[in-house]
């Protein structure tokens, strides 16, 4: 069966769905691209989606394909080429890809895909060793202002969400963001050890990664990046400490370029059905992800805004010219 025939059939099914009790999406045979190696965050998202999609009946079947490489840009390039007009293929992506497209000078970008929905987000946190004289976000901001070179931040890869956040914090503290002394580490464990061992001034990561250390008292939380305080987390936000720093590490799904409005609608419906299902809620709880479902125009606008913001920060720190 050719694509166009299949698309027509899909269209018919959608039309039929309006009349019948069987939702069209339940017939979908989805392909989910994880632009990362098995085991990573995007892969876990894709595989969790696969489970929840079939369990909730949002799709008949779902198959995960891994295309790893270069912060997801290898997968993105392949996706833009092969999923053109394909109403059955989704790709997982997130904040990291926005930066990777810019730093890797990727020939394709997120303007070429069809946004479907944001699924999850994780708030970020800044910590210092428990014996550090720095107690609040203001102390850290003062230290940065006094001598930006002396305040070292440990975090994940250069150009990633942690790096961008270090630059945003430095800028918000009133220092030159281009001068931020950010030290990228290869793995979460390695940077944590450097922070606990007092080799750097502060550490930046997703909240979950530091949670255990904060509870055990080895690390002191300085602030979280959500807009409002979180129930059960006794850490003030940066906003309430007078520092304008709101950022989350989000993950979303997108579809290929050039799909029809009906195809887009069908995919949105399927993803929404999955995101509202009990199976997905279980996944979120198990993995410790925050539900951040946003679809439609709101998500399209969000994606645009994030691209603009990331480009600005990355050119400030000299990663993008």
């Amino acid at each position: 069966m050719s694509w166009s025939k299949r698309a027509t059939l899909r269209g018919l099914l959608i039309a039929a769905a309006a009349l019948s009790a069987v939702p069209a999406s339940a017939q979908m045979e989805l392909k989910i691209i994880a632009p990362a190696a098995p085991g990573g965050g995007w892969d876990q998202t894709a595989r969790s989606m696969q489970q929840a999609m079939t369990a909730s009946g949002a799709a008949k079947s779902a198959q995960v394909t891994n295309i790893p490489g270069a912060g997801g840009t290898v997968g993105l390039a392949q996706f833009v080429n092969t999923a053109k007009g394909d109403g059955n293929t989704l790709m997982v992506n997130g904040f990291v890809m926005v930066g990777a497209i810019l730093t890797n000078k990727s020939p394709v970008n997120l303007d070429q895909v069809t946004p479907i929905a944001k699924l999850t987000e994780e708030m970020q946190i800044i910590v210092v060793p428990a014996n550090s004289p720095i107690k609040t976000a203001k102390d850290l901001a003062d230290a940065v202002k006094k001598d930006v070179s002396k305040v070292t931040f440990a975090g994940g890869s250069a150009g990633g969400v942690d790096h961008i956040m270090a630059a945003l914090f430095t800028g918000a503290a009133g220092a030159d963001a281009a001068k931020v002394n950010y030290v990228p580490f290869s793995g979460g464990g390695e940077s944590l050890a450097a922070i606990i061992g007092g080799k750097v001034t502060a550490g930046i990561s997703g909240y979950a990664e530091y949670e255990g250390q904060i509870k055990s008292g080895r690390l002191r939380a300085i602030g979280i990046t959500s807009a409002e305080r979180r129930a059960g987390i006794d850490v003030p936000t940066f906003k309430e400490q007078g520092i304008d720093l709101v950022i989350t590490n989000w993950r979303s799904v997108v579809a290929g370029p050039g799909i029809t409005a009906a195809q887009k609608k069908a995919l949105e419906d399927a993803v929404e059905k999955m995101a509202k299902s009990a199976a997905w809620k279980d996944v979120l709880k198990q993995k410790g992800w925050d539900d951040a479902f946003v679809s439609g125009d709101a998500f399209t606008k969000f994606l645009k805004d994030e691209q603009t913001r990331v480009r600005k920060v990355l050119s400030e720190v000299g990663l993008v010219k």
């Binding site: 190696a37 098995p38 085991g39 595989r47 891994n66 295309i67 790893p68 490489g69 270069a70 912060g71 840009t73 290898v74 390039a77 730093t103 890797n104 000078k105 990727s106 070179s149 002396k150 070292t152 890869s157 250069a158 150009g159 790096h163 002394n181 030290v183 990228p184 580490f185 290869s186 793995g187 979460g188 464990g189 390695e190 944590l192 050890a193 450097a194 606990i196 061992g197 080799k199 750097v200 949670e211 255990g212 250390q213 509870k215 055990s216 080895r218 709880k285 198990q286 993995k287 410790g288 990663l319």
Partner: protein
């Protein structure tokens, strides 16, 4: 001591018949997947984790431990039998292990690897029980400058893999260092030597290089001289099992390998490769049979294999005491815990001692299971070498490409595998050693990153390298290790001329 009672408790759980069955299934699955080059223990665990979801926590952790150890053992089996290190930590095992297999001593090589892993795993697990809290405090003292110094020590040991000519050995090493430059610079995010190819941005995959140089390169080389009538592989020559002599030559390397592996594995950025290199070069220096090194010395299998396993257990130290996942495998273990809503870390020992001790006990069980399962299989494994050469090498190439296809399915990656294969072929023809290339690729980027991290934190002050007592000591050791052979040689010459 509480630890013993808790461990005994854990063991009684692990010894239930149903759980033993889970351990058996785990070990078999792990070994089956782990034999594929490019799919190391971490990925094996990642792939099989969903299977364990369906079991109760104890059963799941036990199967998990089995998969993990099985995956690791699978890697060294291919290293020994078909000269294809399944993961970077099996590289040193392949050096002597495959030479042994070709000489008909594959049986003892596999046995010393299995028993060495068992010994190292057992000692290291006891180490976790008693030394973890103390060791982790030392590990936290290590800063980037200290890691750089540790890499310097490791670099000195590379010469053990050089073969006859220092110029050719160094050339190989520098080709590896060049390959290590490829990709995004971790500290600045800038692309180096990538020529605009997106697949190159992540750098050269160690397993792609190792499999290309070792497996593909060797297949090409042997095919090219197949009419020369040498390289007849005999699966078994002499004893299939370890002789008394083999035991005598193995037990010290096992212990020394463990002594390298466990503490370095416990370091958050220590890794499994460095202890295997250190062990290999130490055994080469200490052996009473230096003439056998490079031709299949059992010490060169026993030591690195023990170091590899001990370092894997070492990574559990920061994981269980601090919740720090310091290796890909530890990160998967974390995922194993998280499926029960548990976060390993300082509180876990207090909150869920049953699970922690259950895991430690299952590591013991998995270790025992592997030995019971694999020692009888040694005979069967070695007979694989009796497969007619055309099919044997065809099978090896299928497995070599299969690992690459499964881990990174792209034409660029497969092309790289082919290019490295041709490189391995040419290097064999011109008598360049291949191992230093892989060592250069592993150590080069690590050393560069740690040095630059140290200099970034010190704002460009190089004295930081000698101000830290750990770093100063390690650099001193590296210097001595570098000069000592020359000094001893000079002394020997001097003594001779004196006579």
């Amino acid at each position: 001591m509480d630890a013993f009672a808790a461990l005994a408790q854990g063991l009684t759980v692990a010894l239930q018949p149903m759980n033993l069955l889970f351990a058996l299934i785990g070990v078999m699955l792990g070994t089956a997947v782990g034999v594929l080059p490019g799919i190391g223990p971490a990925l094996t665990v990642a792939l099989l984790l969903p299977i364990t979801f369906k079991l109760d926590p104890a059963g799941s952790l036990i199967m998990f431990a089995g998969i993990y150890y099985g995956g690791m053992y699978g890697g060294s089996t291919t290293a020994i039998l078909i000269n294809t290190p399944g993961e970077s930590a099996s590289l040193a095992t392949a050096l002597e292990g495959n030479k042994m297999a070709k000489a008909g001593r594959g049986g003892p090589a596999l046995a010393t690897a299995a028993i060495g892993s068992f010994v190292a795993g057992t000692i290291a697990t006891i180490g976790i029980v008693f030394l973890a809290p103390w060791l982790v405090e030392i590990a936290l003292q290590f800063g980037p400058e200290d890691y750089f110094a540790l890499m310097c020590v490791a670099f000195v040991t590379v010469s053990a893999t050089f073969g006859s000519s220092p110029v050719r050995g160094l050339t190989s090493l520098f080709i590896g260092l060049t390959l290590g430059l490829v990709g995004i610079d971790k500290l600045t995010g800038q692309a180096r030597l990538s020529f605009g190819v997106p697949e190159l941005l992540d750098g050269v995959e160690i397993t792609t290089l190792a499999v290309g140089l070792f497996a593909v390169g060797e297949a090409l080389y042997i095919a090219s001289r197949r009419n020369k009538g040498e390289e007849k592989i005999e699966p078994v020559r002499g004893s299939l099992w370890m002789t008394k002599e083999d035991w005598k030559r193995s037990w010290k390397p096992w212990l020394r390998g463990t002594a390298f592996g466990f503490p370095i594995g416990a370091l958050p950025a220590g890794g499994a490769e460095i202890p295997t290199f250190l062990s290999y070069s130490t055994e080469k220096r200490l052996t009473k049979h230096p003439e056998e090194f490079g031709k299949g010395a059992i010490e060169g299998v026993a030591g690195p294999e023990a170091a590899n396993n001990a370092s894997a257990a070492g990574t559990l130290v920061p994981l269980l005491t601090l919740g720090l996942p310091t290796s890909a495998t530890a990160a998967m273990m974390l995922a194993g815990f998280q499926q029960y809503g548990l976060n390993p870390g300082p509180l876990l020992f207090a909150e869920r001692p049953d699970l922690v001790w259950g895991l430690i006990a299952s590591l013991f069980i998995a270790n025992v299971m592997l030995i019971i399962l694999n020692l009888p299989l040694v005979g069967l494994w070695v007979r694989l070498l009796a497969i007619p050469q055309p099919w044997l090498y065809a099978g090896i190439l299928v497995f070599a490409t299969m690992g690459t296809i499964a881990a990174k399915p792209s034409a660029v990656e497969l092309t790289m595998l082919g290019v490295f294969g041709v490189m391995g072929f040419l290097m064999r023809r011109f008598d360049f050693p291949v191992a230093p290339v892989v060592v250069g690729l592993i150590l080069g980027p690590m050393a560069e990153q740690q040095l630059r991290r140290a200099m970034q934190i010190s704002l460009g002050d190089p004295t930081v390298l000698v101000q830290s007592p750990i770093s100063a000591t390690l650099l001193g050791i590296a210097l001595i290790a570098l000069i000592a052979p020359f000094a001893l040689q000079g002394l020997a010459k001097f003594n001779k001329s004196d006579d």
